[in-house]
Amino acid sequence: MTPAWNSTRWLLSHTPGSKVQARLGRIYMGWLTFRSNPIGMTGLVIVALLVAVAILAPWLSEHTPFTQSLPDRLRPPSHDHWFGTDELGRDIFSRIVHGTRITLLIVCLVVIVAAPLGLVVGSVSGYFGGWLDIVAMRITDIVLAFPRLILALAFVAALGPGLENAVIAIAVTAWPPYARIARAETMTIRHSDFINAARLQGATHFRVITCHVFPMCASSLIIRVSLDMAGIILTAAGLGFLGLGAQPPAPEWGAMVSSGRQFMLDQWWVAAIPGLAILIVSLGFNLLGDGLRDVLDPRSH
């Protein structure tokens, strides 16, 4: 009756034959848990849609996001312009669609800068302890003591407005919580047997940290990062709204809300729709983070 090779059985085997099989099995188990979580799945669908829209942007939009057409300015949503047009006659739907790329770019860049920085600072200071630890944690405390948006504002003020500087400013304010988490995880395992065993076998500190400590910090870090992504999107949009993020004519959603502000009374869609896009995307990341926490965080079971 049983087929010769059953992929589910292979994945869920109690006696995995190889490292790869065991690891894939674990991922599959996590996926099964995640799949039964409606909140997390909703978030995953929203985020997957966001990524798909960003990739397919040029094919999804009939108009380009930059072509101005002054006779067609401030048209209400219609068959030709699904979300209407803005004050320069640009198609808002195309701008929203292309704006997904900017949003994703900001989130990815901030995470790529902040998460490894926090991971390295946290795990190194947790692993070695002593003065290094005290100094590093003092610095994280100082950055944490700053209100994040204000600090980002001050940095953008110093560096000048623009997408790259906004990313730097947000990343500078985003890493300390990651350092805290990585440090806490490292402290709990640094005296455990498998670390000592690795050391006795002659592994260098560098090897122990990169091959044994980093993977142990990964799951808590992933949860925190995914929960932070919504906050990153909102901060970036806030900077854009204040005119300090991506500069015109880039279709950044926060800046679009800001430019629609003056027409709000009669042409509500110019400001309303980009804001709704921000809301949906950050909601998606929040839901995804919530679901991931249920899967990856053993304490929440």
């Binding site: 003092r138 610095i139 405390d141 100082i142 003591a145 700053f146 209100p147 994040r148 948006l149 204000i150 600090l151 504002l153 001050a154 940095f155 953008v156 003020a157 110093a158 560096l159 000048g160 919504a230 909102l234 949009a237 806030g238 709204f241 204040l242 005119g243 300090l244 926060g254 809300v257 800001s258 502000r261 709000m264 009374l265 509500w268 400001a271 309303a272 980009p274 804001g275 709704l276 921000i278 809301l279 950050s282 909601l283 929040n286 839901l287 919530d290």
Partner: protein, 348 residues
Amino acid sequence: MDGKFSVSRRRAVGAVRTTSRLVFSVVLTFIGLLLVTFLIGRVIPVDPVLTAVGDRATADVYERTRIELGLHLPLYEQFWQYLVKILGGDLGYSVLTANPVTEDIRRVFPATLELATVSAFIGIFLGVPMGVLAAVHRGRWPDHLIRVVSLLGYSVPVFWLGLMGLLLFYAKLDWVAGPGRLDIFLEDLVDPVTGVILVDSALAGNWEVFTSAVRHLALPASILGYFSLAYISRMTRGFMLEQLSKEYVTTARAKGLSEFRVVWRHALGNAMVPLLTVIALTYASLLEGSVLTETVFAWPGLGLYITNSLLTADMNAVLGGTLVVGAVFIGVNLLSDVLYTVFDPRSR
């Protein structure tokens, strides 16, 4: 007698030790804050000497001004001078308003304080009961409803919500007043005793101004209050779930206490200790979170002051404002730590 004395003395010593450690860390953090604002002020691409003398000045004048401003000194000496200046309450002059920044901040801060305080009250008085309800009805519809409300609160851009609120409740329904703190024809009618218009107008007995202030405050305060509600209700839910699973709750129930008393008095009483920290942090973040809200509602507070200065590259004002918000943040953090040690005997 003797034993009791030594216990209380040990407690006092412990309290002093905790407090001195807290004060030490706060001083260090504050110096760090100053260092950051100092460095930001140094890396800006704007040449402070050129701003002072203009680009027509001779090299001689330029050099003299540079020395007058202390910019020829090594960086650590410049930082020391900066420290001394700040501690003396001198934040420099604002280019935009031509006033000392300290004076500007003193003028705009009450507006922010008023908005943040009213919002915090909204957040606490709605958020705490909501969190308790969610914990009591865990997994049923009140819990789900409150989860959705708080998730939306975490996800919605504040500036957009403010604009949509203005569109609906001001422009379409006319329930509340528009941007600003008062109707224009009522401005400057009341002596600014505290700078908080609600208090000032009540003191002066001018109810027309008071009503106008309430109408202007209602929308921005509700919106900021919603954000603190989202956070407070979620945290309250967590703390209450933890308390309700403890044995003293079972004991209280077994003794026949009413469920109302068990939940709202025994469990909430104990959950209040960590909640105080959460509330303090919420209050601090409200002072900060008002940057975008104040911009949307043209609310003449610290946040609007900082953003306006930013857009004109008025660095003294930006860094002064950052410093004040950071200092308030550190202060509130310290306060919440102290409250925690006062109310939770285990942490002593």
